[in-house]
Amino acid sequence: MKYENEMKIEFSSKSQNESFARVVIASFVAQLDPTLEELSDIKTAVSEAVTNAIIHGYEEYDGQVYMYCKITDNKVYIEIKDFGKGIGDIDKAREPLFTSKPELERSGMGFTVMETFMDEVEVESKVGVGSKIIMRKKLESLEKL
């Protein structure tokens, strides 16, 4: 039988909610009994996507950040969405070291980090509408047992 579970969360674009989002995703994924490394990979990727929504999506404005997670057997599907300013050139944005905010000492490595720690990363975005990041990861620890 297939094991399934899902959750959906929405929070204000405040920097203290970056930490909150990490615990939320970690405790939801924890039901799969992951290794420390797997959990840390997922938390790091989510953290980058949520930080982007807050810093780039909404900049100094208040807005809502949405996170959806679905677990199917040992597969984790995560969506992080904002209705902020959107990304003009997605390919450019995904390039390592590219940042539109060098003045904030951003490293430009957010998307690279997400790609490194997750199996798949998709970006959908429209200027003036918002952005959606989709990430997938299969937990290997469950298969090795």
Binding site: S19, V23, S27, T35, L36, S141, L145
Partner: protein, 77 residues
């Protein structure tokens, strides 16, 4: 049985569940020590500072302890 084996396993693939259990133990001990030192209940940040573990991890550890205990109970019933 699979559950127990998974829990006891030690092949370098450290499970989150076990590492959190260790944090939970340190939290419990240091909470009491701080309580004596301060003369009141310490806050979660004070505990975090004392044991050098993030508030995030402490929050998860507090829950993992409850879970591990209930798993233990189920097994030994």
């Amino acid at each position: 049985m699979g559950e127990i084996k998974r829990f006891m396993r030690d092949d370098g693939m450290i499970k989150v569940s076990r590492s959190l259990k260790e944090v939970a133990n340190r939290v419990r001990i240091n909470k009491d020590l701080l309580n004596k030192k301060l003369g009141r209940e310490p806050t979660i940040e004070e505990i975090s500072h004392e044991i050098g573990t993030s508030v995030e991890e402490i929050v998860m550890a507090l829950e993992s302890n409850a879970e591990v205990e209930s798993l233990y109970k189920t097994i030994h019933q």
